[in-house]
Amino acid sequence: MDHDHIIEPHTRTLHTRRNFLRTSMLGAAATWTLPIFLERTFASLDAMAADSAIQTVTGKDGPILVVLQLAGGNDGLNTVIPYADDIYHRARPSLGIAPDRVLKINDHVGLNPKLAGFKSLYDEGHLALVQGVGYPNPNRSHFRSTEIWATASDAERNDPYGWIGKYFDSCCAGADPTVGVSIGGETPQAFSSPTPTGVSFSRPEQYRWVNSKKADADQAFRELNQPDDAMMDGLGGQANEGGSIGAIGGSIRSELSPLDFLQRTALDAQLSSDKILEISKKFQPAVPYPRGRLADSLSLVGRMIAGGLPTRVYYVSQGGYDTHSNQGGTHDRLMTELNDAVSAFCADLKAQGAFDRVMLMTFSEFGRRVVQNGSGGTDHGAAAPLFLLGGGIKAGVHGAHPRLDKLDAGDLIYNTDFRSVYASILEQWIKAPSDKILGRKFPTLPILG
């Protein structure tokens, strides 16, 4: 475990798109004979503001957000349990969790018995739970509701871009492609932005172009994977990139064509793969992690943080929460996996001395119905709790627990709009203007200690 190895400054600056394009064709040589289209492009890039070598918004020591999606609709009622409420036990004759098993937070609610690690974090002062999170006109479709959470849009609207993508767009223009990292298969919709931002991978050792390593093949490869002229003009970023957080780029850029999208992705892949490979070789997890996909993802995040990747937002996800039938065993298993993976991650961060820099947020597209169904499970619901944890968090319980005696067609009614949570994170943690990113102002919660 090699924390003394700092990534040298010159390799860091190489990984801005402009620097990459200047140097990639040349190796270290100063004499260039560039293909004409690249020459023209450098001219247009120079016309814009000068390079800023370090992106202050995405600097190596800035705050980090880890978004953990619980996909499928986590049963909030069995996660943060209103153990003192009789209605809960009557509604869930077999699924209900007995009060003596609940890890009590206060006189009303407690955590699922499998969340012992979360309880410790709460007792230590590093975990907050937000109750009754949802939005007006709740949608019970996985895909539509996930989209609503991802885009932070009102339920009746169809905003195309993700809330994190909009943050990247307004505050991170010209930043390193690894400003956003998602671990796993697809790019999360929350990252989607007019120009694709962020990188995805699951196995860093394989995150590279394999070839014969002959110089001419490498060079040809780079040339073939340069974006063309029209694409290039859009690449440079805004005049006041990096430092001036308040300035928004302005016009919404049009959606890229499939080819432009591919070219931009190809460029980002090249830019990021060396750095990520390097880190993955030098840094191993500081603590043992349990087995499982979520633990693997978080362990990878831990290594990237240790390696100084200038990432602002990481995105990981855990699936399987759509428990329509035989929920008992499945939900136990999911809670255990969640608890153990996140606890290991926190221990990892503490060992690295990075715990104070990281905030982790869990969310799910909806909770589940109060009354259990005829298959020993629960159907799609609405409001649910979420967790915030990290060294900077102030422990506590935000929001009221939704009333079990006043339901909306069998579902819990929200009292905290999820965009308030986003706004709180954006304003207080990431220090970005939430009203511009989310479209309007939402009341915030005092989440920081």
Binding site: E186, Q206, D216, F261, R291
Partner: protein, 485 residues
């Protein structure tokens, strides 16, 4: 009917486009053959297809398993023996599932009826069902056969058959839906994802439809469908404004009577075969015919492939290849086989699409969602591998991963390079580049893109040796453009 394609424009490029979209592309000879048939016979030959089912017999393990009897037998055993027995069954199931993936991909690769397999792939993504929850390779095979058998016929019949399909019943909990406590999962997805699209039904409709689908079960002994009358809620339901003692099939009939259903399916099929965000006038036109024909999917495909819009600017080279398309088209183009299971499953996982394992009941989002920085690099590396260059690293799963790290697989037999580029061709750089480009891209070479390849060849000895030839093709395939079809 849509404005028809102008037959005078029929050329190899459009034949290639048809073959790639209706099927999985092919080598230059295949494109030539389709072109030679002429436009009308070409479309006809694809949609009608050749029945080559005997070439692809069902795997011998694909038999119903009497799991109920197994469980009864297991009661006689000690706890340890029982665990061993079920572990053994689980292990076999996993092997068979991987074999099934390879079976289907192999069929896509070698079938003489690619249009039928491509449509089966569409229906699989549409009525998405995952082996991860179903955990029964025989049932997954059974569903695949149902989609293949009924896919070209009436969409109404197909939907009713899918509602009774054991794998679907397990996946969406239909088999657990009881009279007094109906399970809404299937009813919701039926309307949201399979027939109407979100916003075209109410939550009440879902609840009532769920009641109509109670009583659907399958026999443990042989996984055939049965109707459990005692579990059926036979009361009156109100569904989409209609009142009656509806059962599952009635719900489907009422849905099919909605014009929105035809629009929804037409739009999805157009997106899959032609381009995203089809014009609403186009969708209306095709949807009206689709409904009139009784939801005849073969007729709809024919209409799509005969339209001018299908060959227009919005359609040509506008589609990002799905991982399955990428793998099969590359194999056909190079005339190579596929890696064996489980390496093949590992490759599909890295590319982001494993048949029989869609990420959710919504199937695969497709389009730009296929492309991330990682999946793009994986595609580049896979192309290299398919060309016979070196090895490919596949991540292991589960316990083996922790112990052993990724495994390397070597290709058994790369493409026949003499066939692809005979010696005489290798001495003529420009012709060679054009020929290889056509084989890989099925498109004419844009002079703008020739320069890097010419430069690559300029330092090399002619006639080009095998290693450099492979390298050249690898470079061609390691481009953003190669991802488009």
């Amino acid at each position: 009917m849509l404005p028809p394609f102008n037959i005078r424009q029929w050329d190899r490029v459009r034949a290639a486009h048809l073959l790639n979209r209706a099927g999985f592309g092919g080598a230059p000879e295949d494109i030539d053959a389709l072109h030679a048939l002429g436009f009308e016979r070409g479309v006809d030959s694809l949609v009608k297809g050749v029945d080559d089912s005997e070439q692809f017999p069902k795997p011998e393990w694909a038999q119903p398993l009497n799991r109920f009897a197994l469980r009864m037998e297991a009661r006689e055993l000690s706890q340890e023996e029982r665990k061993l027995k079920f572990d053994e069954i689980q292990k076999q199931d996993r092997e068979h599932q991987m074999a099934l993936i390879a079976w289907w991909l192999g069929r896509m690769r070698f079938t003489l009826n690619p249009a039928r397999e491509k449509l089966t792939l569409f229906w699989h993504g549409h009525f998405a069902t995952s082996a991860e929850k179903v955990k029964n390779p025989y049932m997954m095979w059974l569903q695949n056969e149902t989609l293949r058998r009924l896919g070209m016929g009436s969409f109404a019949d197909l939907t009713k058959a899918v509602a009774r399909d054991p794998a679907m019943m397990v996946f969406l909990d239909t088999d657990r839906s009881r009279k007094l406590r109906p399970n809404e999962n299937f009813a919701r997805e039926l309307m949201e994802l399979f027939t109407l699209g979100i916003g075209n039904y109410s939550e009440e409709d879902i609840k009532e439809a769920a009641r109509a689908f109670t009583g659907f079960k399958f026999n443990d002994a042989d996984q055939t469908f049965r109707f459990a009358e005692l579990q059926q809620d036979d009361g009156e339901k109100v569904f989409m404004g209609k009142r009656g003692k509806f059962v599952g099939d009635d719900i489907v009939d009422i849905i099919m009577a909605q014009p929105q259903c035809a629009r929804f399916i037409v739009s999805k099929l157009w997106t899959f075969y032609a381009y995203e965000n089809p014009e609403s006038a186009l969708v209306e036109n095709l949807a009206a015919d689709y409904r009139k024909s009784g939801y005849n999917t073969a007729a709809l495909l024919r209409a799509i492939f005969q339209s001018s819009a299908f060959y227009g600017e919005r359609a040509i080279r506008s589609q990002i290849k799905s991982p399955v398309q990428f793998v099969i088209a590359l194999s056909r183009g190079l005339d190579v086989g596929l890696p064996p299971a489980p390496a093949l499953s590992g490759i599909m996982r890295q590319l982001g699409q494993i048949p029989f394992l869609p990420p959710s009941v919504k199937g695969w989002d497709g389009g730009k969602a296929w492309i991330t920085t990682a999946s793009l690099l994986n595609r580049y590396n896979l192309a290299n591998f398919a060309l016979g260059n070196g090895t490919m690293e596949i991540e292991r799963r589960g316990k083996k991963r922790a112990a052993n790290g990724p495994r390397e697989i070597k290709i058994r037999k790369g493409p026949d390079l003499q066939e692809i580029a005979p010696t005489e061709l290798r001495a003529k750089p420009q012709e060679l580049i054009a020929s290889l480009y056509w084989r890989l891209f099925n498109a004419p070479l844009d002079p703008k893109h020739a320069a890097p390849f010419e430069k690559f060849l300029s330092g090399k000895k002619m006639p080009l040796d095998d290693a450099s030839l492979r390298e050249l093709m690898h470079l061609m395939a390691s481009t953003p453009q190669f991802q488009l079809t």
